[in-house]
């Protein structure tokens, strides 16, 4: 879609960014010591920390990605909400208090607290870097996605701007400013998402689509003269010139043609939407209801349960990416956005993204749910937040505040996603902007505020991730592993330099992964975290025979196996346009890499029992 900036959106956006930077500079004075920089001095109130947890966690993946996935794939997107929240159970019941008691600045401290092992220090630091980088990718992709409609900038410019602002924040004030940014942003996100859901329920459902929604026309095939006819994926596509513009229609095999939207990259490199340049605004938003229960055309205001039961009895037009027809027309590369009418009852159960009727679909589904469940308690930027509160009791209380806030928000995601799906606001090229565009369909002010909060979401989460990675480099690698003697000031300086380097890498990756759903990308980060870190954390706490070598090997094997499966997955091939057949069909690695990591820990620990004392010494 062609997005143009509005004054109010730019104004609200600048206010938010200015406010975030103001907080950052204000708290800069607290970041002089290493403890102040990496762990906010361990003085944050549990309630503030709990909401900040929510702020950290309700990242671009949750707000943009999950809502986008629900808007395009239905209930399958909500699986991420369920899994992300369920993961907090592991954090609360198993990990929170012991991690607080054992650690100091980073989760490596906790893992290494009994051993003082170089192997653990190295592997845990590398794992923190790998997981955080994977988590950074979707945040940066989300940043670019947001800036496009807000400011009218291209995706890469948005990514670069976020990178620059975040590097400034982190290099200025570290964990204290990150915490307060997350606290404010987490609270505002929950409040304004609630406002949006109330608006969705008040509007209800209707078969009358909005004026900006694409409603395809149907014409008699015999009434037009096609210039080109092509076959793709069992369907016929017909190119027709009308009013001087060439566009594609779908042959419905009943003597009629259905109008389609399309994107063409001409042989000369020109980008056309529906046969016209992007600035002509020919590409419209999609998604609408074709049939409501009992022949209704409009429901009016709906209650919580009635909203769902009405959608279950409806029929909805969607544009799943798997249905897009991509072919060449002479020297032009064409992508026709093919619609699919789906029964509401099928959209309200899993199965659109995860093909649960196939063996590999089941495996991907189980693998994802396992990784989401076990991943939360293994995310370095979440774990370091346990060191910002004064005590283990505060760590527990802040986790419960986080669960309550996050759980409430995740319930809202289903309403927001379905709202976007049925109110015709989805950008057919990317579902990531569904929630902000849903807000825009109600009010420009609501859109501006929600987009600015979402942008602050990205800023805050990226800041937290960069603090975690800079801690891994300066504290775990340089100070502990390499034994580079640094005083407090030098350690903070090293952390800031590390933050700068990681920020640059994040910018590059954010541009490279443009177009992928951000919730899906975060799913990978969870899988890497659960595979690399969780087995070590769990076994350290509950198995006395765990050795330093066992932990180091478990982290290494878990991380490498998860990364190897992801990097050779069908989704990765598709993202980078690799035409070769993938070497396996698994898109989610957790089901293999997590048990493997546990097994390696047990085996190596048992093999190194006699040497354990030597390692500990």
């Amino acid at each position: 879609m062609n997005y143009t900036a509005s004054r109010i959106a730019v104004l609200v956006f600048l206010m938010f960014v200015g406010f975030v930077l103001g907080i950052s500079f204000y708290f800069a004075r607290k970041a002089k010591s290493a403890e102040g920089y990496f762990a906010a001095g361990g003085t944050i109130h549990w309630f503030v920390n709990g909401i900040a947890f929510a702020g950290d966690y309700l990242s671009a993946a949750s707000f943009l990605g999950i809502c986008g996935l629900i808007a395009t794939m239905g209930y399958d997107g909500f699986l991420y909400s369920i899994g992300y929240l369920a993961g907090w159970i592991v954090a609360l019941f198993v990990v929170a208090e012991p991690m607080k008691r054992l650690g100091k600045y980073t989760f490596t401290d906790a893992l290494d607290s009994k051993f003082n092992s170089k192997g653990i220090q190295l592997m845990a630091a590398i794992s923190t870097l790998a997981v955080s980088l994977f988590y950074l990718i979707p945040q940066m992709v989300g940043a670019g996605v947001l800036v496009t409609p807000l400011l009218g900038w291209p995706h890469w410019a948005g990514v670069m701007m976020v990178g620059a602002i975040v590097i400034t924040i982190v290099a200025t004030a570290g964990m204290t400013s990150t915490t307060y940014v997350q606290f404010l942003k987490g609270g505002l996100l929950i409040i304004f998402s609630t406002v949006l859901v109330v608006a969705v329920l008040n509007k209800g459902l209707s078969t009358e689509a909005g004026e900006n929604t694409f409603i395809p026309r149907t014409i008699e095939a015999a009434s037009v003269s096609p210039t080109v006819t092509t076959e793709h994926g069992g369907q016929s596509f017909v190119k027709i010139v009308q009013d001087g513009t060439a566009n594609w229609w779908i042959d419905q095999q009943d003597g009629t043609l259905l109008e389609a939207q399309s994107k063409t990259i001409t042989a000369k490199g020109e980008l056309l939407y529906n046969g016209a340049p992007k600035t002509a605004n020919k590409l419209k938003s999609v998604g609408y209801i074709t049939k409501l229960p009992d022949g209704q055309t409009k429901t009016g205001r709906l209650g919580l349960f009635k909203y769902f039961s009405t959608i279950q009895g409806s029929e909805i037009v969607r544009y799943p990416k798997s249905k897009f027809a991509k072919f060449d027309d002479g020297g032009d590369h064409v992508c026709v956005f093919v619609p699919e009418i789906t029964a509401g009852e099928d959209l309200m159960i899993p199965g659109q993204k995860f093909k649960l009727k196939s063996g590999i679909g089941k495996l991907n589904f189980i693998s994802l749910m396992l990784a989401l469940f076990l991943g939360t308690a293994s995310l370095p930027h979440i774990l370091i937040r346990y060191y910002t509160v004064p005590s283990a009791r505060d760590a527990r209380k802040s986790t419960i505040v986080a669960i309550s806030g996050i759980g409430f928000f995740y319930i809202l995601t289903l309403f927001m996603g379905l709202g976007a799906m049925t109110l015709g606001v989805i950008d057919v090229e990317s579902g990531n902007m569904s929630a902000p565009l849903l807000a825009k369909s109600f009010s420009l002010v609501l859109f501006s505020v929600i987009s600015a909060i979402a942008f602050a979401t990205v800023l805050g989460t990226v800041s937290g991730l960069i603090v975690a990675t800079s801690g891994a480099i300066a504290h775990d690698l340089m100070d502990n592993y390499m034994d580079i003697k640094m005083n407090d000031k030098q350690k903070v300086f090293a952390g800031k330099i590390a933050a700068f380097g990681v920020g640059i890498i994040a910018i590059i990756l954010g541009i490279a992964f443009n177009g992928m759903n951000v919730a899906f990308l975060v799913g990978w980060a969870f899988a890497v975290a659960a595979s690399a870190n969780l087995p070590s954390i769990i076994m350290l706490l509950f198995w006395k025979k765990t050795t330093a070598k066992g932990i180091a090997w478990s982290i290494g094997v878990g991380m490498v196996s998860a990364l190897a499966i992801i990097l050779t997955s069908p989704n990765m091939y598709a993202q980078f346009g690799i035409s070769a057949t993938p070497i396996h069909q698994l898109n989610q690695p957790g089901i293999i890499s997590i048990p493997l990591s546990f097994a390696i820990l047990v085996i190596v620990s048992l093999m190194s029992q006699k040497k354990a004392d030597a390692v500990e010494a």
Partner: protein, 94 residues
């Protein structure tokens, strides 16, 4: 700005073992509910279409239940842990 006194991790907590065991028990309970959700989806996904409450299907109700149960169990866990900490650490102090 709602900051608290610095770290007091040196304080002895006699309730650590009790809390760890309770945490594991509650984790097991939640794990079973979560596993049930996965198994239904894998073994008989169409069962998720069954209307169970106010015309809403099992998938929605089960999903919301998983979220709400997590919050409720968290609150219960915190209440029990806080009570035990107060009891066990007071005994020690006495």
């Amino acid at each position: 700005m709602l900051n608290e006194p610095a770290n007091n991790t040196d304080v002895v907590d006699n309730a650590i073992n009790y809390k760890a065991k309770l945490g594991l028990k509650l984790f097991a309970v939640y794990g079973v509910i979560y596993l049930g959700f996965i198994l239904i989806n894998v073994l008989k996904p169409s069962f998720m279409k069954t209307e169970v409450l106010f015309g809403v299907n099992l998938a929605i109700i089960y999903g919301f239940t998983l979220i709400i149960v997590a919050i409720v169990m968290g609150l219960i866990y915190n209440a029990i842990c806080t009570k035990k900490e107060n009891e066990m650490n007071k005994e020690e102090a006495a």
